[in-house]
Symmetry: none
DNA sequence: AAGCATATTAATCTTTCATTAATTCTTATT
DNA sequence: AATAAGAATTAATGAAAGATTAATATGCTT
């Protein structure tokens, strides 16, 4: 129905993933392509989607497991499977997990678009009042949805990138976030230039956070960053 | 929800029609079997259904034609095709007529049930929640029903759009309303021009609201707007 | 059909922000 | 200590988004 719907594509095969994201992009959907389940989970945490397109056979976190998690955390978010596993038990399992559709590869692209469109047009457009997601970071309160950082009542607006990055770090508080994961999650690609860009954002977050010494962003040389919070 | 749902089956083949109505009946759906398009039309007028299962190839009134009539007269009633015609053009035609699904014969009965169940479970029960019609916005009182904004006894009439927009923002006071949600909610579509239009209205609301500094419409770059109210 | 209120489109100007670049500072390795 | 790679910092840039004002179109009411 409404163009510009945001689709999360979870597909580990390079070729098919590329093909689909290009094709759907052409059809004026906004596509984010996660190459594995963990990437998908991260993206779901910090971006909004209207629909998820799931492969079943994937390493690490398979599609069924991912579907289960989606159903738990985002019960209103429609997802559908696109898979080579056409066994009846798999189909039934897919639907029993709450899938809206179960498509068998190879799928005709036009039919895929028709089915996606059919699904989206049946969705209620009532914005699901997303609760402000807040993190307690020392004396700071970080509101990820509204992109605000509050220190003693004084609030600072964050840009989208700043906010996404801080959220990713906060979700892994006191744990290492590798360059690689950060770049894949937020930039979609892990290359030299994006890494430079990441450094700039780290610096900016540090300046925002320097009012409370208990919280800081540490660097692990050659590995990544840790948002470390000293308790006491 | 899904149990005991009323299904209208439109199928001219005796054998398949019998089989399906028996099977679906066993699964505790209430099935009415129409053997041709005219019968179906008659039944639709006399009874209520939750879903229609349509064959395409039928004498007199074919499935596509029937689908068109259903869409016109009962736009909310979901229908799906079950047919031997698996040509791509037919599939696309089916969806373009508003079908929820398009199944190719022969279909596994269990899968059919799974798909029907999936469709029925997505039928939206729109909660008739009563919106508050009067809002306190700092020193302003906003009366959404009468589209009035009152500041120290002095009232300003708002236009419908202005009022709708302010109400949406007020319902999400201190929380981000994305462009997307605003546009879809108020304009029905999220495109370049409507977005420009939205900007104009934001400007207007801001001029109305500038008598009280505690209330203001903030912009979150690339995301949307926040009606922010400073307490105290 | 004229006149008014309202909504949309257009045109112009301003601001924001991610990225790139340039430079200095750190750390690890030899 | 010398070197190279990684990291931090600051500033510059250009494209996109937003704000504002004005002009046009749409639709009612009389």
């Amino acid at each position: 129905m409404d163009k510009n719907s945001r689709i999360l594509l979870v597909e580990d095969e390079e070729a098919l993933g590329y093909l689909l994201s290009e094709y759907l992009g052409m059809k004026s959907f906004t596509v984010h392509w996660a190459k594995n389940g963990n990437e998908a989970i991260g993206l779901l945490e910090r971006r909004e989607f209207d629909l998820v397109l799931l492969d079943v056979t994937m390493p690490v976190v398979d599609g069924f497991t991912l579907a289960k998690r989606i159903k738990e955390k985002y019960p209103e978010l429609p997802f559908l499977f696109l898979t080579a596993r056409s066994l009846k038990v798999d189909v039934l399992k897919g639907f029993s997990l709450g899938a809206v559709d179960y498509l068998k590869k190879p799928i005709d692209e036009e039919e895929l678009v028709a089915r996606i469109t059919a699904i989206l047009s049946r969705i209620q457009v009532i914005p699901p009042d997303k609760e402000p997601k807040r993190y307690l970071l020392g004396s700071y309160i970080f509101d990820a949805v509204n992109q605000k950082l509050v220190f003693e009542g004084e609030e600072t607006g964050l840009t989208s990138r700043e906010s996404e990055l801080l959220q990713l770090l906060a979700d892994n508080k006191n744990n290492l976030c590798s360059h690689r994961d950060i770049l894949i999650q937020l930039w979609g690609e892990n290359d030299y230039f994006n890494r430079k860009s990441l450094n700039v954002f780290i610096t900016r977050l540090r300046t925002y956070l320097k009012k409370d010494r208990k919280i800081r962003i540490e660097n692990v040389h050659g590995k990544g960053f840790i948002l470390s919070l000293q308790d006491n």
